[in-house]
C-alpha cells in the first residue's frame, strides 16, 4: 500500500509543532524554574476555548447569523466553513486575532495560577495544578454557552480553507512549524537571558536567590504567565487544526505527553525538547496498525496493536530514566556572549565544566 504523503506529512508536522510548543512551555516552567505545571492542559484548553469562541462567533456574525440554523450544530459549522472559504482575508485576520487573544488570556490565567505556586512547592504544586486542569475540563463540559459543553463547538475553519483540498492542511502545517520555530527561538533566548539565569537560580536554591536580592515569587509568576501563554497559543493552533472545540479533548494525558517529551529529551535543554517531541510524534505513528498497512503488511496480531503504543512509551521512559536520567541531551551551560568569549580563551586542554551562573 502506497503512502500518501500529502496527508501524512501535514499530520505529523502539525502534531509535532503543537506538541513542541507545549513541551517548550513546560520545559521553561519546570526545567528552568522548577515549577511542575502538570495542569498544562488547562492553559492549553484556555487558548483553545478563546480561539474557538472568538472565531466561531465573529464568523457567524459576518456570515449573517441565519436565525433558522443552529449555531453550535453541524449545519451552522458548514455555514462558517463556507464563509471562510470565500473570504480568505476574514479568516486569516481572525486567526491572527484569536492567536493573540489566546496568548494574552492564557498568560493572564497563568499569572493567576501562580498564586498557589507562591505557597506550594514540588509535588503539592503539581497536584494542585492537575486539579486546576481537571476543574477546567469539568467546567468546559458543563458550561454549554461557551463552547457547546460535551457536544463541542464545530466550525472553526482552517485559516487556509480557501486553498484547494490538501493544500489547506499543508499550508497550515507549515504555519504551525513556523510558529513553533519562533517559539523555540524565543525559549532559547529567554533561557539564556538574565531572566533565564534567574529562573535557574530559583530552581536550584530559592533561598540563596532571595538572599542575593532576587524576587523569586515574581520570577515564578512571570514564568508561569509566559509558559501558560505559550500553551494557550498551542491550544489555539490545535483548535484551528481540529476545527472544533471539544471539552473531552482536554484530558490530563496531554499534560503528561508534554512532560514525557521533556523528560525524554532532557530537562532544561530546548534541543532535548525538540528531540523528545520529534521522537514521541514518530513513536505515536509507527506503533499504530495503519503504519503496518502502509508498509504493505496485512497482519492481524493476536493482541490489540493500539495498546502497544502505551507499552512502548512507558518502556522508553523507564529505559531513559534508568540509563540516561538527564534525558537524551543533558542540561548544558547557559549560552551567553560572555560565556562564549570565556570559552574561547581557554585551550582545549584546560577547558573545565563552566561554572553555573547564578546571577
Amino acid at each position: 500500500m502506497a503512502v500518501d504523503f500529502s496527508f501524512l506529512l501535514p499530520l505529523l508536522a502539525t502534531s509535532f509543532g503543537i506538541y513542541l510548543i507545549l513541551a517548550l512551555s513546560f520545559n521553561l516552567e519546570y526545567g528552568y524554574a522548577g515549577q511542575p505545571n502538570l495542569g498544562k492542559v488547562f492553559f492549553y484548553s484556555v487558548g483553545a476555548y478563546a480561539a474557538g469562541a472568538i472565531t466561531t462567533r465573529v464568523l457567524w456574525a459576518l456570515a449573517g447569523a441565519p436565525a433558522n440554523v443552529a449555531f453550535m450544530q453541524a449545519p451552522g459549522a458548514a455555514i462558517r466553513q463556507a464563509f471562510a472559504r470565500s473570504n480568505p482575508g476574514a479568516i486569516l485576520g481572525l486567526f491572527v486575532v484569536s492567536l493573540l487573544a489566546a496568548a494574552v488570556i492564557g498568560a493572564a490565567v497563568g499569572y493567576l495560577a501562580a498564586y498557589p505556586a507562591l505557597r506550594l512547592r514540588g509535588d503539592f504544586l503539581a497536584i494542585v495544578l492537575i486539579a486546576v486542569g481537571e476543574a477546567g475540563r469539568v467546567f468546559g463540559r458543563n458550561y454549554e454557552p461557551l463552547a457547546g459543553g460535551v457536544f463541542g463547538l464545530p466550525g472553526v475553519p482552517n485559516p487556509f480553507a480557501w486553498l484547494p483540498a490538501r493544500a489547506d492542511y499543508a499550508a497550515y502545517a507549515i504555519l504551525v512549524l513556523a510558529i513553533a520555530a519562533g517559539m523555540y527561538l524565543f525559549a532559547v533566548r529567554l533561557s539564556n537571558s538574565p531572566f533565564g539565569r534567574l529562573l535557574k537560580s530559583v530552581r536550584d536554591d530559592e533561598l540563596a536567590a532571595s538572599v542575593y536580592g532576587k524576587d523569586a515569587p515574581r520570577a515564578k509568576g512571570h514564568i508561569l504567565a509566559i509558559g501558560s501563554g505559550m500553551a494557550a497559543v498551542a491550544g489555539a493552533l490545535y483548535v484551528f487544526y481540529v476545527q472544533q472545540v471539544y471539552a473531552d479533548d482536554f484530558i490530563p494525558l496531554i499534560s503528561f505527553a508534554a512532560v514525557t517529551m521533556v523528560i525524554l529529551g532532557g530537562v532544561a535543554n530546548h534541543k532535548g525538547t525538540l528531540v523528545g517531541a520529534a521522537f514521541m510524534t514518530l513513536v505515536d505513528f509507527v506503533t499504530r496498525p495503519v503504519f503496518l498497512a502502509i508498509l504493505g503488511i496485512n497482519w492481524q496480531p493476536p493482541f490489540d496493536l493500539n495498546y502497544v503504543r502505551y507499552l512502548v512509551t512507558g518502556l522508553i521512559i523507564v529505559l531513559v530514566l534508568l540509563f540516561r536520567p538527564k534525558g537524551l541531551l543533558a542540561e548544558g551551560p547557559v549560552d551567553t556572549v560572555a560565556m562564549r568569549v570565556a570559552q574561547s580563551w581557554k585551550t582545549p586542554a584546560t577547558v573545565d565544566e563552566p561554572a553555573r551562573d547564578d546571577s
Partner: protein
C-alpha cells in the same frame, strides 16, 4: 586418388512444412497448457478503515467489541468473495481514535495517508463533527456505527450513520413512560454527547408533550465512584415524591451502569421506584447473575425497561452473535448493543464499494444510500434519510424478567411504530 566430398543432404520441402506445422502445434499446445495453469487475475485489496476508539474513558470496554464486529463482517465478506472466485478482498485497518475529536481527526488523516477512502467510524457525535469538514473536502466516506446526536445531521455530506438519531427513541420512551402512568422522572445520565443529548430530548418531550416533571443529575464518565451522584438522584426522586407515579431514567453504558445499580440498590427510595433505561442499557452484563447477583436482583426488582431499535432474536442478529462468539470466544457482542451497528456499518461500506465497482469516495458515497435501502442487517433496516442517517424503524420495548426456567432475560412487550408514532402493547 581424388576423394569425393560428402554430399550435403538437402532438406525436402515437405519435411520443412511438417516441422513448421509440428512446431506451431506444439507451441499452441504449450500455450494452451500454460493458460490452464495460469494464476487467477491479480487480487485487488481495498482497505476499510476502522476508526474506532478502543481506549479512553468512554470506549475502552465497548470499543474493542465494536471494532471486532466490523472486522468479523470483513472476514465474512472476504470468505464469501473467495468462495465466489472474486479477485476482490477487503482489509480492515484499525486505528484507535481514543474517543476524542483530536484523535479522530488524526486517525482519519493517518488512514487517508494509507490510501483509505472508506472508513467505519468514528463512534461519537463529537468525533463525527470533528472529521466532517476533512472527509467532505477529501471525499472520504465515513459510516459511523454509533453516532446518534442530532448535531451531526447534515444533508449531502460524506458521513453516514448506521443508527437513527436519538429523536425517535426519545419520543418512544417518553410516550411509554407516560402511557404506563408515570408523570415524574428522576434522570441520571452520563455527561457525554450521547447521555446529555438523549437526556435533553427526553426531558423536552416528556415535559412539553406529556406535561411531565423531571429532575436530573449528570456524572463524569471517568468517575469511578458514583455514590454522590446516585445520592443526588435519590434526593431528586424524594423531591418529586417517590410513589407510583415516579420513575427513574438511567442513561449509561456498562461499567457506569453497574456502579449506579450497585449504589442504588442500597438506597430505599431508589429501590422502591421503577427504572427506565436508554437503549444502551440493554446489556447482558446487567443480567449476569454469576458475576453480579445483587445487580441482577436490583434490575429485576426495578423492572428496568427500555427500547431498542431492532428486535432480539431476529435471525440475522442471531447469526451475527453466533459468528462473533465463534471468532472471539472471550468476548460477548451483547455487552455492546452498538456492536450490531458496527457489523452492519462494515457490511454497508463493503457493499458500497462492490456496488460502485471502484474504490472511489464519490462513487461509494453515491451507492451507499442505494445499497442501504435494501439491506436488512443485524441491527435491522438501514434505509437512510436525506442526512445519510438510518431512518428509524419500529422500536421494540423490553423489560427485565424471568423466563420459564427462572433465567433472567430482556422480555419484549411492546412495539413503537415509527411511521405513526404509536405504541402497541403485545397481547
Amino acid at each position: 586418388m581424388a576423394v569425393e566430398a560428402p554430399k550435403v543432404k538437402k532438406w525436402s520441402v515437405p519435411l520443412i512444412i511438417a516441422i513448421v506445422v509440428i512446431l506451431i502445434l506444439a507451441g499452441s499446445l504449450g500455450w494452451a497448457l500454460l493458460q490452464l495453469g495460469a494464476p487467477a487475475p491479480q487480487q485487488v485489496t481495498y482497505p476499510i478503515g476502522l476508526a474506532i476508539a478502543t481506549s479512553g474513558a468512554t470506549y475502552q470496554s465497548d470499543g474493542p467489541i465494536r471494532r471486532d464486529a466490523a472486522q468479523l463482517a470483513i472476514d465474512q465478506m472476504n470468505a464469501q468473495l473467495a468462495a465466489a472466485g472474486s479477485p476482490i478482498r477487503f482489509q480492515g485497518i484499525p486505528d484507535d481514535t481514543q474517543g476524542t475529536a483530536d484523535g479522530a481527526k488524526a486517525s482519519f488523516q493517518r488512514l487517508a495517508a494509507a490510501g483509505v477512502k472508506v472508513v467505519v467510524g468514528p463512534l461519537s457525535t463529537g468525533e463525527a463533527t470533528a472529521v466532517l469538514d476533512f472527509i467532505n473536502t477529501n471525499h472520504i466516506v465515513a459510516i459511523s456505527p454509533s453516532s446518534t446526536g442530532v448535531t451531526a445531521a447534515v444533508p449531502n455530506d460524506f458521513l453516514f450513520r448506521a443508527p437513527p438519531t436519538d429523536i425517535p427513541q426519545a419520543k418512544a420512551l417518553s410516550q411509554l413512560v407516560s402511557s404506563l402512568g408515570y408523570t415524574k422522572v428522576g434522570i441520571i445520565y452520563r455527561l457525554d454527547d450521547y447521555g446529555r443529548g438523549f437526556e435533553q430530548l427526553f426531558e423536552q418531550r416528556f415535559e412539553t408533550v406529556y406535561g411531565g416533571q423531571t429532575l436530573n443529575v449528570s456524572y463524569d464518565i471517568s468517575a469511578q465512584d458514583l455514590a454522590t451522584e446516585v445520592g443526588q438522584l435519590s434526593t431528586n426522586v424524594q423531591t418529586l415524591g417517590a410513589g407510583p407515579q415516579t420513575a427513574v431514567l438511567v442513561v449509561a453504558f456498562e461499567g457506569d451502569g453497574i456502579e449506579i445499580f450497585n449504589e442504588a440498590r442500597l438506597d430505599t427510595t431508589l429501590s422502591s421506584v421503577r427504572w427506565f433505561g436508554s437503549e444502551s442499557m440493554r446489556r447482558s452484563a446487567f443480567l449476569n447473575r454469576t458475576a453480579r447477583p445483587n445487580v441482577v436482583d436490583f434490575v429485576l426488582n426495578a423492572n428496568l425497561t427500555g427500547f431498542f431499535a431492532s428486535p432480539s432474536l431476529n435471525p440475522i442478529s442471531t447469526a451475527f452473535e453466533q459468528a462473533y462468539a465463534a471468532k472471539y470466544p472471550s468476548r460477548d457482542p451483547k455487552k455492546s448493543p452498538y456492536s450490531y451497528y458496527s457489523y452492519d456499518s462494515a457490511m454497508l461500506a463493503m457493499m458500497g464499494v462492490l456496488a460502485a465497482g471502484k474504490y472511489d469516495g464519490d462513487a461509494v458515497k453515491a451507492m451507499i444510500p442505494f445499497v442501504a435501502q435494501s439491506y436488512l442487517g443485524a441491527s435491522g433496516s438501514k434505509a437512510m434519510d436525506a442526512n445519510g442517517d438510518a431512518i428509524a424503524a419500529d422500536y421494540v420495548a423490553w423489560h427485565t424478567a424471568l423466563d420459564a426456567m427462572s433465567k433472567e432475560y430482556f422480555a419484549e412487550f411492546a412495539r413503537w411504530r415509527f411511521a405513526t408514532e404509536t405504541l402497541e402493547f403485545y397481547p
